[in-house]
Every structure is written in C-alpha cells, then in structure tokens.
C-alpha cells in the first residue's frame, strides 16, 4: 500500500510512540496531584511544553495544550473576537480557503453580529500582505490566515502578514496545522500572536494539539472546569499524547530542511508526471507549496470513482469532489481559486510522506494516468468535451 494522504493524518513515528508508552503504565499520575508521583507527571508535562515552545520560538507560558487543531482554532478566534468586541471592534479578516474549523467559527461569530471580510486568494491560492493591509479597518480585531492550505498546499506569506498586523495593532492568528513540523515557524520573527497546530500531521498522536498565544493576548475558555493550563483549558492533561507530540515535533523540526529538500524533489517528479495527462491542471502555486502536496483537477471525471479505483491499486488518496465531501458542493478551496464546479468534482490530492520512494512516485503516476483514462472512456461528459459539445476549461 502507498499511503499518499499525509495531509489527512500521518503514521506515528516509533520514537513518538516510545515517548508515550511510559505514561500509560509507569508514570500515570495526575499532574495536578500533590504527591511526588503526580509531580513527576507535572514536571514531564512542563518539560514537553518547554521543548515544544523552543521549536516555535515561543515562551513555554505561551503554549496551551488542546485536543487538536480545531479546538485551537476555535479558541483563538473566539478569544480575539470577544476581546475585540469589548473594545467595540467587531470586524475580522480571513480568506475564503481556510479550514472549516476557522470558517465555521467565523460563521458563528457572524450570527453574533461580527462582520467578516474573506479575502480573495487568486488563482494561485495566495493572499498578499498588501491585500490584508488594505482590508484592515479601525474596527478590525483579528486577522486569521492559514499558514499552508490543507488541500492545495499553498503557503501564505505569514511573516509579511504578521508584520502588517503588528504595525496596525491587529491580532494575527494562523492555522499552522499543515505547516507545523514541515515549514519553519518562529512566532516572534513572524509576528504571530496566535497559532494552532495538531500533532498527528507530523507523526505524533491524534487528539492533541497546541494553541500558541503570545503573552498579553487574552484567552477565553471553551472548556470550563479545573485550573489546568493556567485556567484556560480545563480537563486532566493528556500527558502521554503531549509527550508523543513533543517528541514528534522535535524530530520534525530537526530534520525539516533535509526532509523538505527530498520531498520537494519527489513532489515535483509526481507533478511533472501527472502534468502529462491531457486536460488536467495542478491546483495551487508551483513554488510556494508544501513539500508533500500534489493536487490536480482532471476534466471529465469524478473524484470519488477515481479514489475507489486508486484504492484498488493500493493507493490511499483524497479528493475535493462533492461526493467525497458529502455535501452538495465540491471543495470550497477549489471554488475559491476559481475552479468551476464541474472541474472541481474531478480533483485528486496526493500528499506524500518523508519516506516515499521514486518507484512509488512512478507507480502513482502510472496508476493515476490509467484510472483517469479508464474513467474518461466511460464518461459522457468527457465524450462531449472531445466532440466539442462542451468547452474545455483546461488546455491539453
């Protein structure tokens, strides 16, 4: 099997698993307990916090453990919005291609009377700092722009956006779920006020993540209860998962450059191979792109049948078609970069891992080419395109 869905989740590394195991059977104490056994758990928790902070260029006190990226996004946005509202600022800036954890939270805020400006991301999926600057108003309380997109892999100019926000005194949050462990993060240098990440995207465990919040940024609690996480996130800490996350992030950060270089070469080989399929096009920017992300649209076919047939060939992939998203519309990200519905239905995302081989890349190119050709041959939509009854969107 070739697992090419690392943007969905990743395999845990052995080291991360090993880092977790002692905390199930050996050091299972509650970090809130007073006796030495509990305090040992507390010390290890704080040590992990310190190590995670150092990977991000943050202070340990700025690291809040959450259940994952979605919770961190919710808490960051809700906090910034409500503290903004207290000062009469109820305007938020974001983009049309954020993760639903962001977009649905913004929808909730709209119902509470907030005004949300979603910036256009253009055909390459990138928003510029200048566009953010132009959208900032007197009553803007938050700019939230993702670091890298989960579907099409585009990397936003986060540092430049951060600088603009700092200059204008507006809080800047970035959903870095796809970026953490894969792209360099320095919250101070990049002027990031809040950042969300999730461990299972960089070979850590599921169900654990981080909300980084710069000192001085007011956080409200989503989960009320005990005084854990400086009173900002109640509930007994998921210590084993935190230990696994810390280990996975350290490994990812120390190997980042080498991994990125190798994966970028593999990614480009895959893109080059799939580019040879006629009437298909890469989604997202070719250069400002996550090292492991490949995303294409192919005319005349539908994504779910493509995925099922690739599954039969041992390839795990994903698509933004309506059938796979379980909704009426195809991926909001593909629509945001201007892909028409009929083309967005034929999308394919392959997100490769660090250990992918050239042979696997070549196998994937051959398999996708075969399956696309097979499905086109039974597609009346494709027939109409070939016969000129419908117009092609892409060139050959």
């Amino acid at each position: 099997m070739i697992y090419a869905d690392n943007a969905a989740t990743t395999k845990m590394s052995r080291e991360a698993v090993a880092a977790m195991l002692p905390y199930f059977e050996e050091y299972y104490g509650n970090p809130s307990s007073l006796y030495a056994f509990g305090q040992k758990a507390k010390e290890d928790l704080e040590d992990a916090r310190k190590r995670i902070a150092s990977c991000l260029g943050a202070d340990p006190r700025e690291i809040l453990f959450t259940s994952g990226g979605s919770e961190a996004d919710n808490q960051a946005i809700m906090s910034a919005a409500h503290s903004g509202a207290a000062k009469g600022k109820k305007h938020i800036i974001s983009t049309a291609m954020e993760h639903h954890a962001v977009l649905h939270t913004l929808d909730k805020l709209k119902k509470q009377g907030f005004e949300v400006t979603l910036l256009d991301v253009h055909e390459n999926g990138i928003v510029t700092a200048e566009e953010v600057r132009n959208a900032i108003r007197e009553d803007t309380c938050l700019v939230t722009v993702m670091y890298a997109n989960n579907e099409i892999g585009t990397i936003q100019p986060v540092g430049e956006i951060g600088a603009v926000c700092r200059e204008r005194g507006v809080l800047f949050h970035t959903d870095a779920v796809q970026a953490a462990g894969h792209l360099p993060i320095d919250v101070k240098a990049q002027n990031i006020d809040m950042l969300s990440l999730s461990a299972h995207k960089f070979h850590g465990p599921k169900g654990i993540g981080v909300l980084y919040a710069r000192r001085g940024v007011l956080l409200e609690t989503l989960i009320s209860g005990g005084a854990q996480e400086r009173g900002k996130r109640a509930g007994t800490e998921n210590l084993a998962a935190v230990m696994g996350m810390a280990k996975a992030l350290e490994i990812a950060c120390s190997n980042m450059e080498r991994n990125a270089e190798r994966m970028t070469a593999m990614r480009d080989r895959l893109i080059e191979g799939l580019d040879r399929i006629p009437y298909g096009e890469l989604n997202g920017d070719r250069v400002h792109r996550l090292p492991g992300n490949v995303n294409f649209c192919f005319e005349g076919i539908e994504g779910e049948s493509l995925l099922l047939l690739l599954d039969d060939k041992g390839i795990c992939a994903s698509s933004g078609s309506a059938c796979t998203s379980g909704s009426l519309d195809p991926s909001h990200v593909l629509l945001a970069i201007g892909r028409p519905h009929e083309v967005a239905h034929g999308s394919l995302r392959l997100s490769i891992g660090e250990d992918v081989t050239e042979e696997e890349i070549d196998y994937m190119i051959a398999a996708v080419t075969d399956v696309v050709t097979y499905l086109r041959n039974m597609s009346p939509f494709w027939r109409d395109l070939v016969n000129g009854k419908r117009r092609h969107v892409f060139s050959e």
């Binding site: 076919i301 539908e302 039969d312 059938c323 796979t324 519905h341 009346p380 939509f381």
Partner: protein
C-alpha cells in the same frame, strides 16, 4: 471499503454494458456536470423488446454501479416492463446504497425512462407524459444530496 456493499463494488469495478450504441433507437441523458453526475443510456429496441442497452456515466462509484445494475435489469425486457423500473428496485438489487447516494439510483431510473421517451418520440408512439420525469434545465440547481 465498507462505504458500499459488495454488489455495488462488483458493479463499480466490473461495470456491465458500458459503451455507446451508434444506431440506438432511444437515447436518454440526465444530470449535469456542475452537480458531478451525468448518465447516458442507449437502447436498441426490436419489436418492443430491449435487445441491447449501453451506458456512459460521469459520476461517483454508486452512479457507475447504479447504471450498470439498471442496464442489466432491463436487458431483454419489453418496453412496457422497462417503464416500471424504479430506483428502489435498482437500490435493492445493489443490496442498498448509503442514504446520500440514493439519488444515483434515481438518475439511473430517469435516464432509462428518458431513453424510452426518446424512442416513443422518434417512432410517433403515443404516451402519457406524466409517466416520464420532467426535463431539467442545464445550469439549474443540483437537485440531490
């Protein structure tokens, strides 16, 4: 994959009656590319019997499986019986479809009925329009899901 029954996967992986009948006696097409599925049915009819049927489908796994199953169900049948085919019968023959995929079987039923209507129209055979689905508008709202 547990998403679909074995039957659906069998018809998806090995679709029966895929193709085109160049000199078809009736052709029916439903769906639209914006919504992500199109089905096209070609019928060869000889003395009121469907002697051959082919389909082309643009769509998800269940759309392909529904077309395949539906064509199998009408092959060799008199036209009057073909018109009694329901999406429910197609779904049952496939051992069920997930709720959000039921529309695929509706498309199969409608494509076949449209092909029969085309056959009637071409041959001046009178019929009750009420027994056929209404014409869709291209670019109209997607009806399903």
């Amino acid at each position: 994959m547990a998403l679909y029954s074995e039957k659906v996967m069998d018809h998806f992986r090995h679709p029966r009656n895929v193709g085109v009948i160049e000199d078809a006696d009736g052709v029916g097409e439903v769906g639209n590319p914006v919504c992500g599925d199109i089905m096209k049915i070609y019928l060869k009819i000889d003395g009121d019997i469907v002697t051959d049927v082919k389909f082309e489908t643009f769509g998800c796994g269940s759309a392909i499986a529904s077309s395949s199953m539906a064509t199998e169900m009408i092959k060799g049948k008199p036209v009057s019986e073909v018109l009694t085919l329901t999406n429910k019968a197609v779904t049952e023959a496939l051992d069920g479809l997930p709720a959000h995929k039921l529309h695929c079987s509706v498309l199969a039923e409608e494509a076949i009925k449209k092909a029969v209507k085309d056959y009637y129209d071409r041959n001046g055979i009178p019929y009750d329009p009420a027994q056929f689905p209404e014409e869709e508008e291209e670019g109209g709202a997607c009806r399903f899901r």
